[in-house]
Symmetry: C2
Subunit: 139 residues, 2 copies
DNA sequence: CCATTATGTATTGCGCACAATATAATTTTG
DNA sequence: CAAAATTATATTGTGCGCAATACATAATGG
């Protein structure tokens, strides 16, 4: 078997799936005027308000080069605020505005819409998640 | 269950895995001086030389906005050539240079190195690929 | 055969993603 | 306490990824 054939690649479907997922989210998040990475940041903040850039970055595996401009865009939309911590002025603390909090109610139906779009049995989805987590811990 | 909790997201692990995969490829492809998307284009060309931009794009699900600059970078590395088709001057035909052909031998060990890095049983990998293909056909 | 439509690539603009570096503040050490 | 090391964010540069648009060529239908 030719391991360099596209058809025999394992990673290519994963790479493609991730892109297609983000494309699907593009339409699902249109109303919220959020991109998928922005939506992920909002998930993190909806769970716990007032977090440092690095704390958000650790949870999402994103560095400041990605987060700083992204958070500035969220600030411009006026759904988050950026403020230097009093305690440690190196830290920038991100917090939700009222509009940012409210956006959560508009996002409630997004996860189920996504699972519907994938239309795959929940059991199979759990297996999938398990395999992915296993690979992630190895990489 | 709170469907908006990061922990309960199904897509986030997929998104993370795709990124980690690309990161792993970064080190595996360092010798070849290729990025992962560039490597994918080379896989397509190693299978069949002389293909139009659109043909490559269909196989990889990438549009000209992505491929044109990418292919120009491969041209600068002198591993591919870009030439307008005589038959249809709208088409740009991409072909491998001698160096481009030779690069294939250096790439032979990349797929196995990647599978090794993921360190997951082949059987489970096949299940994973099946699930992903199923979701992709739905999205 | 000419106007219309379709096709193929290129360009532009925006938003990630990450490496490398810079900068400033805090902590640790001698 | 001052110098050195560490920590946290910001900045810069490169490379995707995709939508929207432009533009040229080819095909098609009166």
């Amino acid at each position: 078997m030719d391991h360099l054939k596209l058809e025999n690649q394992v990673c290519f479907p994963i790479y493609t799936l991730a892109k297609e997922m983000v494309n699907k989210y593009r339409s699902l998040l249109e109303d919220l005027e959020l991109t998928y990475p922005q939506y992920l940041v909002m998930l993190v903040l909806w769970e716990k308000d007032e977090q440092s850039v690095s704390a958000i970055g650790e949870k999402l595996n994103l560095d400041s080069g990605t987060l700083t401009p992204l958070l500035k865009r969220l600030e411009q939309k006026e759904i988050v605020m950026r403020k230097r911590s009093q305690a440690d002025e190196r830290m920038v603390v991100i917090s939700l505005t009222a509009a940012g909090h409210q956006l959560k109610t508009k996002a409630q139906n997004v996860p189920s819409a996504m699972v519907d779009a994938m239309s795959i049995p929940v059991a199979e989805l759990k297996l999938l998640k398990n395999s992915i987590d296993k690979i992630l811990s190895n990489l």
